[in-house]
Subunit: 305 residues, 2 copies
């Protein structure tokens, strides 16, 4: 944490950090900074953190992640970056910053540096069990995010499945495919149908790949493992270890639970990039232009029958 | 197909092929063989094949895959290798060869050459929507298969999820974890708990990774895509493009739908390896020693509520 925060402060001269956590960690960081730079770091001492094994709703109590979210809500910070429990961060952000109209289930979007340009993979762990209507909403989020955050024009949106042919997949995919085909995608986005696992790394078929948060999470880690096996990630970059939380009222970035200093620094850089572009506000405004009832989401609490 | 079959015949002098398909494809293959070798190839002309976009039950009619399965049932061949529709092959094999007692849903097992020895990933597409009891049965199949086919001693069996901590995952994983923990694993296998995406490539935590067929299939293809991005698979081998179908009464290997000649030859070699070890019979016998009612499977037709 200390090394990652130091790296971020040194890389980005316009960055200010509000550190939420144990005071001794903050002291270590401030002690390592050039005295002239110390005014760029503020500390909010909080001792209780939600552990990886805790239930996400533990974030309802006083905790580092909840305090960080409240700082954004109160205007004391512009963005939250957390490498803690994903579930706790999603819960704290949804409760503390609110969700956008029409978005009941936020999505974590990870951007992979594919051969043919960036691929936005969502969800990578925000919503583990979406229904088809949630996947359709995530398609809207992904198309808008690819355009706003990564300047992808007319994003091609695909639904991840086990084959390209219509009808391939489990029930969730079979019911979601028509919902995605009917989704009014923003930014001249278009639905390109089913895509496969290769397409996440190669990017030939789609700029945005939609899947449930369980599959997206294990996939991202499998790709990371494959790069480690192959002797390191490709030159244009490996699997990201930071992802943007879309659908909540603020800029929130979730880093990998095992993030190293470089991962944390790139998560902070992502948060700064998104905030400077007002990505959250712009994506939200793009979605506000779309009728919220384009796909009923009453089945969203479970895999549709 | 022709190149793959030729490669297999030339590599393995003890191999005999029964080709089931259009006669002109068979003629091309036989024409390319040394005349002294032609007796090693027999042809069963069948014109109708189940297409990738067809429903798997199309295999109930006269088709290449059904004819190939019948040849095994009738003792005219020892194993089936198909690069056609996975669903059609699974359906034809289950109907034509029968399923083992206690195995309602067959599993496709793929073996990845991980850093610390082979990792058996199952299911990679045999059963897209298993319940927890099916995952527990697949854990038994995987442990026995790792031992019999790959000589793994005391296989460590993990359940793929989004984190290592108990309780991580969607409802299927949360209900399956106790079922796997209670499963009487053969071959001194032991359940090691939840594992993550990395573990499939690295193999540090588990020798057998259990997941649903949807997730396993997209994962395997994502790993293949990542190796392509990284400039090629690692020296010990990439993602396999052939998998063994476990739980049906015979040796059945399913190759990737986009298998090239090398993939097809390695699928044929896998089938020969499994048949020579009597892997199907040995795995089945190992499971016959286990009470079939160790986990109720009445919820197996859907994700458990």
């Amino acid at each position: 944490m200390v090394d990652g925060a130091l790296r971020a402060v040194r890389t980005d001269p316009a960055l200010h950090l509000l550190l939420v956590g144990p005071i001794e960690v903050a002291d270590e960081l401030i002690g390592a900074l050039d005295p002239a730079q110390r005014a760029r770091v503020t500390v909010r001492p909080v001792r209780t953190a939600v552990g990886m094994a805790d239930h996400p709703t533990a974030a309802r109590g006083e905790s580092t992640v909840r305090t960080a979210v409240q700082a954004v809500r109160d205007g004391l910070a512009d963005a939250v970056v957390s490498a803690g429990s994903t579930g706790a961060t999603v819960t704290a952000a949804a409760l503390g910053l609110g969700r956008w109209t029409g978005i009941r289930r936020p999505a974590l979007a990870a951007t992979l540096p594919a051969v043919e340009g960036p691929v936005v993979l969502l969800d990578v762990g925000g919503t583990l069990e979406p229904g088809p209507a949630t996947l359709a909403r995530h398609a809207l989020l992904g198309a808008a995010y690819a355009s706003v955050a990564h300047a992808v024009t007319a994003p091609r949106v695909g639904l991840l499945s086990v084959g390209l042919e219509t009808g391939k997949g489990d029930r969730l995919r079979r019911t979601a495919a028509p919902a995605l085909a009917a989704a009014p995608l923003p930014c001249d986005g278009r639905y390109v149908g089913l895509v496969e696992g290769y397409d996440i790394s190669l990017g030939a078929r789609a700029d945005v790949v939609v899947t449930d948060g369980f599959t997206g999470n294990v996939l991202l880690k499998a790709i990371e493992g494959a790069y480690a096996m192959a002797g390191g990630p490709p030159s244009r970059g490996g699997a990201p270890r930071a992802a943007a939380l879309l659908g909540v009222g603020g800029t929130v970035v979730v880093c990998h639970g095992a993030a190293g200093s470089e991962d944390l620094a790139s998560g902070i850089a992502l948060a700064a990039h998104l905030w400077r572009r007002d990505a959250a506000g712009t994506v939200r405004a793009l979605l506000d232009d779309i009728p919220h009832d384009f796909a009923p989401d009453r089945h969203d609490t479970e895999v549709a029958p």
